[in-house]
């Protein structure tokens, strides 16, 4: 796979204008995740209403892959069950760790399938995962804050 093919229009669109970007109130948990090797940083907030992810807001700096992936993640999880969001996290993680051999489920991952090619570039996998990892971490913290 040529690296140019990695940069699909979907990825660059999300990078250009990140969906749900910016930090918002209210929230039950806020986490900060960094990638010390390249300096990518994301601060992410989660608000739950019962079992529903009512908001994910974030402020982040980083490469096109990390920014677009966080944007796609926010699209996919906001307004859905916590279980659905965590399930998507697992699916996305599996795809990223699959070295490009795993056929993603487009019905579920939607724009997220644009990142399938990233799995072929080990140095970029962490970029694609940073927002998702922050989301999962924030969910766990929000759940324990509520209970």
């Amino acid at each position: 796979m040529k690296v140019e093919e990695l940069y699909q229009e979907i990825i660059l669109d999300h990078y250009r204008s990140k969906h749900h970007s910016g930090l918002r109130e209210p929230y039950q948990a806020e986490v900060q995740h960094v990638n010390p090797t390249c300096g990518d940083e994301v601060r992410l907030r989660v608000h739950l209403a019962g079992d529903t992810v009512s908001d994910v807001s974030y402020e982040s700096v980083g490469c096109s892959i990390s920014q677009a992936s966080t944007s796609v993640m926010a699209d996919l999880v906001i307004g859905h069950d916590v279980a659905h969001g965590l399930g998507l996290y697992e699916e996305f993680l599996t795809m990223m760790q699959g070295k490009g051999q795993i056929e993603p489920n487009e019905e579920r991952l939607e724009d997220g399938i644009a990142f399938a090619g990233v799995a072929k570039f080990p140095a970029r996998v962490k970029c694609a995962l940073i927002g998702w990892s922050a989301f999962r971490d924030a969910i766990i913290q929000a759940q324990s804050a509520i209970s």
Binding site: K2, V3, E4, L6, Y7, E9, L12, R16, T37, C38, G39, D40, E41, V61, G62, C63, S64, I65, S66, F121, A123, R124, C127
Partner: protein, 446 residues
């Protein structure tokens, strides 16, 4: 602080009769021939997807000439044993090789005495050694002065030391063109009677700036401070002479100067080293151990607990001999020429902003820059380096272990191209062409 070694640290081992390496240097310098030099580095023959590898990440880690790899191999295959404690033929050979390497390094950096060279595992360990051993002399309210352009390894050890002792960490700022802001430091009384330690980089790993170390050392000494220098980027590319530099402690690493990984050097003035307490404890660094207490070996062995990096020292010695044979002045001149050519090329590209000095004055061979596409959108360094990598060009992307410096310049990260004795003008041409392509690629898709 007493700088006198005193009777508690008698010199019990004398390695001053160990001769440095046997390589005889030519009377006249050999003409600098980059193609001949490249032939010494087999890795430079590699290709990436059919195009030649272009390695522009030597400030991160340099490549190794065959002679260094062969020296390490020969040591392991023919002379391997532990040093200073194995009482047999191989033990003697290994000890002589290890101590001979120390003598070679001492000569390479112009040390007064061979015992002033302490082998560590890297520059970070050497700087941690400084912070730990100098720390015993600090009182709450004392001040440690570093600079905002430091590598994390010359920031974090001092932060930890300040936390441990109640000392205050302060720093030199930089000017817009990436020089230490000495005027601002003077105006705000950065160095004063509370300053006990000054620790700065000789050459910035991001900006390429060569700092006026002798001047800073004189300033530090005028207020009674101990002056530490991180010379990791300097020793590989400049002829450094410890006797003239004016510093008290100087750290550098082997793998950036065509030597092996796993070995670094701390040079220290002998009287200062002799006054400092041990750092890591274990075998080799002791004199007499009883259950009631121990006495310690004199420098350098006091600071070399445990089995040292023996084969790596042999490799580093070969590296120093290799660089000496080519001539450090010729290497400096080559880097200067290549850096000037690269700065010219980078400045010809719209959308490139160079961090640090734009001119060749007091500037080493690392150039960091940011890139923006035609629509003024920044192109992230990780995206830049990935695209360059696909074209066979290895650069570094990120904050290069200097996050505070990037913050100071208001950028999250940068792309860095760094050069060495094997870098060619053709490689710079390829870099500029690929950056042009990168700007166009991201500009077009937006």
């Amino acid at each position: 602080m007493s700088l006198d070694g005193g009777p508690e640290y008698p010199v019990t081992t004398d390695f001053s009769d160990v001769a440095p390496g046997s390589l005889a240097l030519a009377e006249e310098p050999i003409a600098f021939d980059v193609d001949a030099i490249r032939a010494d580095f087999p890795i430079l023959e590699r290709t990436v997807g059919g195009t030649p590898l272009i390695y522009l990440d030597s400030a991160n880690s340099s490549q190794k000439p065959r002679v260094v790899v062969e020296a390490v191999e020969d040591h392991y295959l023919n002379h391997n044993a532990n040093v200073a404690r194995a009482m047999h033929m191989l033990g003697a050979e290994a000890t002589e090789a290890f101590e001979g390497a120390r003598a070679q390094l001492a000569q390479f950096i112009g040390a007064h005495r061979t015992e002033e060279v302490v082998f560590t595992k890297n520059a970070s360990e050497a700087l941690n050694l400084c912070a730990y051993t100098l720390g015993g002399y600090l009182q709450p309210g004392d001040e440690i002065v570093i600079s905002v352009m430091e590598h994390h390894s010359n920031i974090v050890p001092w932060q930890l030391l300040a936390q441990r002792t109640g000392a205050v960490l302060r720093w030199f700022d930089v000017t817009a063109d990436g020089r230490l802001d000495l005027d601002k430091a003077a105006a705000e009384g950065l160095l004063n009677e509370r300053t006990k330690i000054v620790s700065v980089a000789y050459v910035s790993n991001v900006l390429g700036t060569i700092n006026p170390i002798s001047h800073i050392a004189a300033l530090g000494h005028s207020v009674g401070a101990t002056v530490v220098v991180d010379a990791s980027q300097a020793v590989p590319q400049l002829a450094v002479n410890m006797a003239d530099l004016g510093a008290d402690l100087v750290a550098f690493t082997g793998h950036k100067m065509v030597g092996p990984t796993g070995i670094g050097v701390l040079w220290g003035r002998y009287d200062l080293l002799a006054a400092l307490p041990p750092f890591l404890a274990g075998g080799e660094m002791i004199e007499v151990v009883t259950m009631a207490g121990s006495t310690y070996a004199p420098p350098p062995h006091r600071f070399e607990a445990g089995t040292p990096p023996i084969a790596q020292a042999v490799g580093l010695s070969a590296a120093a001999q290799y660089l000496s044979a080519i001539g450090m002045n010729q290497i400096t001149a080559h880097e200067r020429e290549i850096t000037g050519y690269a700065l010219e090329g980078l400045q010809s590209l719209p959308g490139v902003t160079v961090l640090g000095p734009n001119e060749l004055v007091d500037r080493g061979g690392a150039v960091s820059f940011t890139l923006t596409a035609a629509d003024q959108q920044p192109i992230h360094p990780h995206d830049v380096s990935h695209l360059l990598d696909s074209r066979g060009i290895a650069v570094r992307a990120g904050h290069h272990c200097a996050r505070p410096l990037h913050e100071r310049f208001g950028v999250q990260s940068s792309t860095r191209a760094s050069f060495y004795l094997y870098t060619t003008r053709a490689e710079i041409d390829a870099l500029i062409e690929s950056l042009d392509y990168t700007i166009a690629f991201f500009g077009r898709l937006r």
